[in-house]
């Protein structure tokens, strides 16, 4: 059964990834999109798009009926679930199969087995895979806690991917943790079952990629290290994992294959381990394609999506374990719209430009269009940046450069943090555990250095000036800010209240900001600004979007948002408050001192010339004084209510 039309039940970068392989194999692709995603990048990547309505995941990508309906309407004969959403939903897999479609993934039973973390551990134990002490029998917490040992984690049985976890370091805190975790698990997964598992501090997250076909073959495709995580979610992944003893590695591979083989696993899957020193313990198994599958593809030279489709079509794998070798080193960084310095709060808004400086230097898997929109409804991953080089240090350097030079003109991202992590000596030395970011909180508000900031500031000001000069219809040929008599410098305020003044003399730009004097030469040609400072010339591209100036160079990126020189102040507020438009009598006063009023809100009703006049608040304000009461006679122009912004 050859797949001819493949529906990809997902959004974001994985749609583009699956589409790329499918197209190469001659398969027509179908994307689905929510209401919020009508113009999303993935809708432009597939051959056919079905708008399935809804904004939230629950009313769109998680709605099985809508997805199956889209498949039926487009004549799709197979479904690829991507990752997340319905990818590990056994019910969905079953319904796809029952609808007569090819399911690109493991069997529903395999999905549900591994989806239940307690049953999964039992399966692993049966296959001889090393496990951490754990128990799902928690009727007697004292006994359960003692049997597992502290510190321990309380985990949701239906959880996974780090969701629904709680760390407990002492027996006294266990009861609370269990009840909170159970409550959260009920809310998040509809299943309140929890279990306890020993916590190993300072361990690494290493996983093994496996593929099984329907003919009984299971092979591994080496390992990946995914230790750098935030909120239990991976941000940097690499293959192969560095600094793992050969014996440990071999044992881990064998354990992963044994587990998969023990359940006749079909398709691509990942067996995750916690590794500390030479010891490794089973964590969980993911029954889908992982976000970080790219690094395995790079070092193993395979196309995992193609393998998934081959297996789904019932083809045997065309290689054996002996054929699997790794070549060089690959690293993936996940670019997220989030603010690491603000506890990784997701950010959103227009993405004016998302563009690597050199597409030939990286593997680029974008999830957001450029220009596009980062929506609040979905995972804030913007793109994956993958490099594959001969060795790890080369790969690190290349990825740093790619990230640093990338134009990311939109919401705040974790880019600077990624660069800081990749540049960190511990990371370079391979000394990385899952608590890496917790141990290095200084990396969370990393930023390009002061030198870069100065160069970019000069470029931004020079570009701003050039734009202003271009707007001059009369004296464009005169030098910027030309004066024949000494005069005050030009001034500029950036968003955030940073003020600066500057003078221009030919190419020379003198900027005064925060008690610092910056002297440099700048020449502007279109978007390119050459900044010469201390005899060193740096090329900066300055692009304007939504009133902000985005500066990119080999040194990094900065954004400057010049504020308008003038703000419109409401004249009524300026006067202290609304006044009587005509002489008349106060009929009613509808506010009192201390009230917060909104624009248009009626404050006072006046009667004059048999007409009723409604005196409204001109803007958001607080009532600080009411000068009139019903029955008062007032003259035109009298202030009735004093407001304060």
């Amino acid at each position: 059964m050859t797949i001819r039309t493949l529906l990809i039940a997902n959004r974001g970068e994985i749609v583009g990834r699956v589409t790329r392989t499918a197209r190469r194999l001659g398969i027509t692709t179908v994307a689905v999109c929510s209401e919020a995603d009508r113009d999303a990048l993935h809708t432009a990547q597939a051959d056919l798009v079905v708008a399935i309505g809804g904004d939230t995941p629950a009313t769109s990508y998680l709605d099985i009926d809508k997805v199956l309906d889209a498949a039926a309407r487009t004549g799709a004969d197979a479904v690829h679930p991507g990752y997340g959403f319905l990818a590990e939903n056994a019910t969905f897999a079953r319904q796809v199969i029952e609808a007569g479609l090819t399911w690109v993934g493991p069997t529903p039973d395999q999905i549900s087995l591994m989806g239940d973390k307690v049953r999964a551990k039992d399966a692993a134990a049966r296959a001889g895979v090393p496990l951490l002490p754990s128990t799902s029998v928690i009727d007697d917490l004292d006994t359960a806690g003692t049997s597992v040992g502290f510190p321990l984690l309380v985990k949701a049985a239906a959880g996974g991917g780090g969701r629904g976890m709680r760390l407990v370091t002492e027996p006294a805190a266990l009861a609370d943790a269990v009840s909170v975790c159970a409550r959260e698990a009920t809310a998040a997964f509809g299943d309140g079952a929890v279990y306890l598992e020993r916590f190993v501090e300072g361990s690494r997250h290493v996983e093994v990629q496996i593929v099984g076909d329907t003919h009984g073959t299971v092979v591994h495709l080496a390992d990946r290290d995914c230790s750098v995580q935030r909120r239990h979610q991976k941000v940097i992944e690499e293959a192969p994992a560095t600094g793992i003893a050969a014996t440990t590695r071999t044992a881990m591979f064998e354990a992963a294959v044994a587990l998969a083989r023990s359940i006749d696993y079909v398709g691509a899957g990942t067996v995750e381990f916690l590794v500390k020193g030479e010891a490794f313990h089973f964590l969980e198994m993911n029954t889908r394609l992982q976000v970080e599958h790219t690094v395995t593809e790079e070092v193993c030279g395979v196309d995992l999506v193609e393998l998934q489709l081959d297996v789904a079509e019932g083809r045997p794998l065309r290689f054996g374990q002996a054929d699997v070798t790794t070549n060089g080193h690959a690293i993936e960084a996940r670019l997220y719209a989030e603010d690491p310095a603000a506890a990784f709060t997701p950010t959103y808004g227009p993405m004016h430009r998302l563009e690597p400086a050199d597409l030939t230097a990286i593997r680029w898997e974008p999830g957001v269009a450029s220009p596009g929109l980062v929506s609040t409804f979905y995972d804030p991953m913007l793109a994956k940046v993958v490099v594959h080089r001969n060795d790890r240090s080369r790969a690190l350097a290349s990825l740093v450069r790619a990230l640093r030079t990338m134009a990311v003109h939109g919401p705040i991202t974790n880019r600077d943090m990624l660069v800081a992590v990749l540049n960190h000596a511990d990371f370079a030395g391979g000394d990385v555990a899952t608590d890496f970011l917790e141990r290095h909180p200084d990396l969370l508000d990393a930023a390009p250095g002061d030198h870069t900031a100065r160069i970019h500031l000069v470029a931004a000001v020079a570009s701003h000036v050039q734009t202003n000069r271009g707007d001059d219809p009369h004296w464009r040929l005169a030098p910027a800010g030309w004066r024949n008599v000494p005069s005050p410098p030009q001034s500029l305020t950036f968003q955030g209240g940073r003020e600066l003044t500057y003078r221009i003399d030919g190419r020379r730009l003198s900027i005064s900001i925060d008690d610092e004097e910056i002297e440099a030469e700048a020449s502007v040609v279109g978007e390119i600004v050459q900044v010469t400072s201390g005899a060193i010339r740096t090329e900066v591209s300055v692009r304007s979007a939504a009133g902000s100036l985005w500066c990119n160079s080999a040194l990094g990126q900065h954004v400057f948002s010049p504020q308008p020189r003038f703000v419109v102040v409401d004249s009524e507020l300026a006067a202290g408050g609304p006044t009587a438009p005509v002489p008349g009598t106060i009929a009613a006063v509808t506010v009192a001192v201390g009230d917060r009023v909104s624009p248009g809100q009626v404050l006072v009703v006046m009667e004059a010339m048999k007409m009723e006049h409604h005196i409204e608040a001109p803007a958001e304000a607080v009532v600080v004084e009411v000068r009139v009461s019903p029955g008062d006679q007032v003259d035109a122009g009298a202030v009735l209510v004093v407001l304060e912004a």
């Binding site: 004296w475 005169a478 024949n484 000494p486 005069s487 003038f566 300026a574």
Partner: protein, 539 residues
């Protein structure tokens, strides 16, 4: 028609200056010294009120005149300040306590006048009146909207005798500008009282700054004296009152910045359109470096130099199509362009003979036929004298040139790059001939004749008179003549000239192209049309 081919076929001026030579070096050194001297005076003019008053003004959170202007004009645009050294060599404050100049407000070239409160409270001196009236005149003839930034304590009372009568014309000019369709805007930042109240009173648009602007004919003491009424300034003439009650204020501004914002918005809505043609020629830079203008002019004003060297560093692409190049060679005439505006140029290369005068008169008529603005480049010691030339009719020929200059109606720009002596000043569109703008280089000298000649003439006359009376012409008389020579020398300097409003300002020679370019753009706010006829040319 000007076509790319005709542009390519226009001769390009070459330069014969040896920038490595001793003459160039000494000329340059002398000019730099003069430029520095003028720059120091410009600097002085910006703080003429004294640091104490500047600090006091700023401590009140108020903007200085030039800061207000910087906010009023479009960001990063130039500002061409006029008469910055008005009052030099007089009793009046340097700069006359006011800033005038032309800047671009919301894409419109505007005449801006700003009183400087830090100089004697913003009170007006005789120079203030002359400077303001020159600004009004420039606005009128070039059709520039006027923005007045008002904050004045009124007249400098000790000098009232020099101020009161002529000062009244300022209000007349405002309403005449309005009548001519030239918008007038007053942004009132502080007191604008007594006669000063007529600045907003006569303006088309007014903006009053809350709690700052004040306008009344008589202040509380005077009101008390006159009608025994007790009142305070805010009640009498505050911004709120004028905005809500009297209607003298069209807009109430929250603060100074808000007033400037509103002023800009008013200009934005003027729907302004220049009546002159747009630039029509390539506006490429001169091929010769304008920096070399510092070494072009002779350090000694009596030594002539080739004015083409100046044109070569000023005109677009150094292109210059010379007219009658073989005739009357001491007056260089020809066509070129500056910032893309076609211009006719008359530039002195020595004294004027009959041929030069006739050539100039013919060229001025041609430019009037073609509606092409004229640039006069003055370095002139006068018309030729002597029996031979009188017999040849030098007066008649000079009259032809003065006739042509006087009746020409295309815009004239005059640039003083050296001497300006005698009737040559008139024939080359000197101050009295109403050029739209006159700018001078710091080496400029202006007088009825050179100080030495003048002293020599006085000595000859004195000796003859003494002889006639049978008296001695002794040391005392000679000392008197020397003193006169020194006085005339002082009164001939560029600083003295500019202090007396004989020009619109002294410029750094390197800024010649920029200044003239802006001036040309400004004059094109009005139509550019040649004269329908001239006076009778005496043949």
């Amino acid at each position: 028609m000007i076509t790319p081919e005709s542009i390519a076929a226009t001769p390009v001026l070459s330069s014969r200056i040896d920038t490595g030579g001793a003459d160039y070096a000494s000329n340059r050194a002398a000019m730099i010294a003069l430029v520095d001297e003028v720059a120091a005076q410009h600097q002085q003019a910006t703080v003429a009120g004294g640091q104490k008053y500047i600090d006091r003004h700023k401590s009140r959170g108020l903007l200085l005149a030039r800061e207000r202007i910087a906010l009023l004009i479009d960001q990063d645009t130039p500002f061409l300040e006029l008469s910055p050294l008005a009052g030099w060599g007089t009793d009046d404050p340097l700069g006359a306590g006011t800033v005038t100049g032309i800047g671009i407000v919301c894409g419109t070239e505007c005449m801006i006048l700003a009183s400087d409160r830090t100089v004697r409270g913003g009170s007006g001196s005789p120079s203030t009146i002359r400077k303001g009236q020159r600004a009004d005149e420039i606005a009128r003839v070039n059709r520039l909207p006027v923005v007045n930034l008002v904050e004045s304590a009124g007249a400098d009372l000790p000098k009232q005798a020099e101020i009161f009568v002529p000062g009244g014309a300022g209000f007349k000019h405002l309403t005449q500008l309005s009548a001519a369709g030239i918008p007038t805007i007053a942004l009132v930042f502080g007191p604008s009282t007594a006669g000063g109240a007529y600045v907003p009173g006569m303006s088309d648009y007014t903006v009053f700054v809350k709690e700052r602007a004040m306008a009344y004919l008589g202040g509380p003491p005077l009101v008390k004296m006159a009608i025994d009424e007790d009142t305070d300034e805010e009640t009498l003439g505050g911004a709120e009152m004028h905005s809500r009650v009297s209607g003298l204020s069209d807009y109430l501004a929250v603060d100074e910045r808000d007033a400037l914002r509103i002023g800009r918005q008013i200009v934005a809505h003027l729907n302004w359109r220049k009546h002159g043609p747009l630039p029509s020629r390539p506006a490429d830079d001169p091929i010769h470096d304008p920096d070399e203008l510092l070494g072009v002019a002779s350090a000694d004003v009596r030594i002539p130099f080739d004015s083409r060297e100046v044109l070569a560093r000023t005109l677009d692409g150094s292109r210059f199509d010379e007219f009658k190049p073989l005739y009357g060679t001491q007056l260089v005439c020809g066509w070129g362009s500056l910032w893309g505006y076609p211009i006719g140029v008359l530039a002195n290369n020595g004294i004027l003979f009959g041929e030069e005068a006739q050539k100039g008169a013919q060229f001025i008529q041609l430019c009037n036929q073609l509606d092409v603005p004229l640039l006069f480049v003055q370095n002139i010691t006068g018309f030729m004298v002597g029996t031979q030339y009188e017999r040849a009719g030098i007066i008649k020929d000079g009259a032809k040139l003065i006739n042509a200059v006087s009746n020409s109606t295309v815009p004239h720009l005059t640039l003083m790059i050296g001497a300006s002596y005698g009737a040559g000043n008139y024939g080359m569109s000197g101050k009295a001939y109403d050029p739209r703008f006159i700018f001078t280089w710091p080496n400029h000298r202006i007088a009825v004749m050179g100080p030495k000649q003048l002293a020599g003439v006085m000595e000859i006359i004195g000796r003859r008179a003494a002889e006639g009376r049978g008296e001695d012409f002794g040391d005392a008389q000679i000392a008197g003549i020397r003193a006169l020579e020194e006085q005339v020398e002082y009164e001939s300097t560029a600083l003295f000239a500019t202090g007396h409003l004989w020009d619109d300002g002294i410029i750094d020679p390197r800024d010649t192209r920029t200044t003239l370019g802006m001036a040309l753009s400004i004059v094109h706010n009005n139509e550019v049309a040649g004269a329908p006829g001239f006076g009778v040319f005496r043949m």
